[in-house]
């Protein structure tokens, strides 16, 4: 746990990697930009995404009922199988693009680009949640409890949204603030336990996830939340002043939460790259003992990291509660917490990466919704694809790492051989002399 969590293989403790990276100070911004887009890491990620999409499509094809019907008589008429398989394969990708980017079947232009806005809307909680996890990963902590922190943020923010009646801007601000506080509290618990008692934050956060879900279930059957004559499991709607305003008009669902996500990304970049606390956090994540020696209070840093991570998760909850659903329901948090983990891993825990990874997964989600409604493909394929993307990246990184290590070993062997032979020749010369 002393290294930041990523998908790269864990280095053995005694090895170092001499001279494999170019000296960062010799590059100008052109080189940096080229490296950003064309480095082996970007190629790995692109390859992994394409591979995962192809595998997902193949799974869909294999289990498509029409394709399965033709498999029964494959050897009599193989052309049937291939035509059905091809149809299913292309319908996967066409539904994905139509649901995520551009729907060419729609009559007007604004309806045709609605899918792109849907992708962004679904991406908002994933981006902010991914930022929360990226923050904790950078500090070497595994905050698996984002799911629970989102639920608490939803409870707090939803309560302020539906229980009070405040003027327009203030109500929204109060609800967002309450959501942040709710998430921060749920991050404080593992934080203080880790700082004071050394409790393993993975287990504490996983337990708090389940407690949060049960708490929400219990609260949603009370009068306060479901209102008089309401159904258990769904709360009253929040006040109109507490909802995020729509920023593209009523034809689209894109709400102000997107601006919040952008601001949050900038905030995290500033925090990690430019602030003192961010430096302490990165130091504690890279090598806690060295940081301690340098005078950084590692335990306090870890506690503050978990609190801040929870606060960001609470902010992520504001997107569904105040933006799209405008209320609370039992399934509100869905799988956002776990999807956000994959977003953070894909984005390599850098704010820029997390932002674009969130957009990608938001697009996959939006595409999945259309795949379900128009092609009958169960929306779970999106989760499978997300998991395969992460596993493919982990595998590629591992293969690259193992190749690099083999090269190092060979170079070391060459050096030792060279040193041996000069030694030997020196000895023989000495003996002759």
């Amino acid at each position: 746990m002393s290294n930041a969590a990523t998908l790269t293989p864990i280095e053995p403790p005694t090895r170092d990697v001499p001279g494999s990276e170019p000296n960062a100070q010799d590059e100008n911004w052109v080189h940096k930009l080229l490296r950003l887009f064309f480095n082996p890491s970007a190629a790995t990620v692109t390859f992994a995404i394409l591979l995962a999409l192809v595998i997902g499509a193949l799974i869909v094809v294999f289990f498509d009922p029409d394709v399965q019907a033709t498999m029964g008589y494959f050897f009599q008429r193989p052309s049937d199988f291939f035509s059905e398989a091809g149809r299913a394969f292309t319908s996967f990708f066409s539904a994905l693009v139509r649901g995520a980017i551009f729907d060419w079947n729609q009559p007007t232009f604004s309806q045709a680009i609605r899918p792109a806005t849907e992708s962004i809307v679904r991406a908002i909680p994933l981006i902010i949640g991914g930022l929360a996890i990226a923050l904790s990963f950078t500090a070497g902590l595994f905050n698996i409890g984002v799911q629970g922190q989102i639920i608490l943020g939803a409870i707090f923010g939803g309560y302020v949204g539906l229980a009070f009646d405040l003027p327009p801007f203030i109500h929204l601000l109060a609800a967002v603030f309450a959501a942040i506080v709710g998430g921060a509290i749920w991050g404080f618990i593992p934080g203080i336990l880790k700082a004071r008692l050394g409790a393993n934050e993975v287990i504490v956060t996983i337990m708090l996830n389940s407690i949060a879900l049960l708490l929400m279930q219990a609260l949603l059957s009370t009068e306060t939340f479901k209102g008089p004559g309401g159904y258990a499991g769904k709360s009253m709607s929040i006040g109109t002043n507490a909802a995020y305003p729509l920023i593209l008009g009523h034809g689209f669902r894109l709400h102000f939460g997107f601006i919040v996500a952008v601001i949050a990304s900038f905030f995290l970049w500033w925090l990690l790259d430019r602030s003192t606390f961010g430096f302490e956090l990165r130091a504690a994540g890279a090598n806690p003992r060295a940081a301690e020696t340098a005078g950084i209070n590692v335990r306090r840093t870890m506690m503050l990291t978990l609190v801040l991570s929870g606060a960001l998760a609470g902010l992520a909850a504001s997107a569904p509660v105040l933006g799209t659903e405008k209320g609370l329901s039992v399934g509100l948090a869905g799988t956002i917490g776990f999807d956000a983990i994959t977003v953070a891993l894909l984005g390599k825990s850098r704010p820029v990466g997390v932002f674009f990874a969130g957009l990608l997964f938001g697009a996959l989600n939006a595409g999945g919704a259309l795949m379900q409604s128009s092609a009958g493909i169960p929306v779970d394929i999106v989760q499978i694809t997300q998991a395969i993307i992460v596993l493919a990246i982990a595998g590629s990184e591992a293969v690259r790492w193992m190749r690099q290590r083999r090269k190092q070993d060979e170079r070391t062997v060459e050096k030792v051989d060279a040193a041996d032979s000069t030694d030997r020749s020196a000895k023989t010369n000495g003996a002759v002399a």
Partner: protein, 427 residues
Amino acid sequence: MSAQVETLSNPETDIQSDAKLAVQWRDPVVSALMVVLTLLLASMSKGQSNISFRGASTWFEGGIWTIPAAGTGWLMFGVALVCTGIIWYRSLGRRHVSGWLLVVVGVAFVITFLVWVVADRTSASLPVVSLLAGGLMFATPLVFGALSGVVNERSGVINIAIEGQLLLGAFAGVVFASMFNNPWVGLIGAPLAGMALGALLAWFAITFRTENIVVGVVLNMLAVGFTSFLFSTLLKNSPHLNQPMKLPVIRIPFLADIPIIGPVLFRQTILVYLMYAAVIVMQFLLFNSRWGLRLRASGEKPQAADTVGIKVNRIRWHSVLLGGALAGMGGAIFTIGQDLAFSKNMAAGNGFIALAAMILGRWNPTGALAAALLFGFATNLGAVMQSVGAPIPAEYVLMTPYIVTILAVAGFVGAVRPPAAEGVPYP
């Protein structure tokens, strides 16, 4: 010379006055808390409680006992108060406190709680035998999951994917059973499916050296997504592959007639008996066999194990596969153990409770069994409370396993020390 010794001030008493043994606060604080809660519940109990002992034995008919709720509550409070007093007296005197005193206080609290739940209800009764039997059944997947976790983590691989393995076991159990129209075939399919996910975990965690926790979380997502996808496609189009099948309940002839504990322990499906066997076998193998010693060495100090010639990564691979099989077997309970067809996300967080049971049980099979029984009982109690219509929402009772685990990990139940090299790939 003796006069010299006596005129010296005795250094021992001087030092002793400054250095006292620290008070062990765990037992006094926990028992005080439980006594206060018992007091609250006893004061809130009114009327009569019906406690049903139906099904307690075939030798006699266990009827419904009607007991005064308040009286029982106050009696239990008295017992708990006496024990708490003894605990406090001995703790403050820095003397050893027997663990059984805390157990007695705990039992008194639980009895008061149970009596309070059905207090003053003429139509509802507390079914003791089905409460305990159901608790054991709920605990069985937790025990299997915790055993899987123990075997994995003792060898050095952190397994967060127990949830996914349980789910795959449930899925494969019912599909295999439906395919061959025989629930016993499901017992073969379930461990195989768990082993498949275990193979993926081992490949990424051991061979690729990826961060174990990350791989576990992602594999959980994969398992949930894959089974849900298959449920919506394969099982929907071929419903004959998803028929509820039940493993027969096997009664052990004489033992099942022991009052109360007989039907609870010895009138269950084969999966529960397999669980007993698994706990005994694993406890013996881990701590009394060469294989177990090598496994534990791989998890504590793989460098030392390697020096002696133990193939660390091969042992880790084997242990992850074994753990996957155990967890898959546990997952079968959700479907073929309960006569249910597969439905989405059936494991419902049991994998994480199993992790908690493993930690609370200190990475021992028997400890994990005790913790899982506690958690299973709490879960079943929550379900019974929902059916009886209890005064407080059942969700708060369902939270108890999780809260207890947090307290355990925070050290309130003693130091919790995981295997030293867990999660660290070797070499």
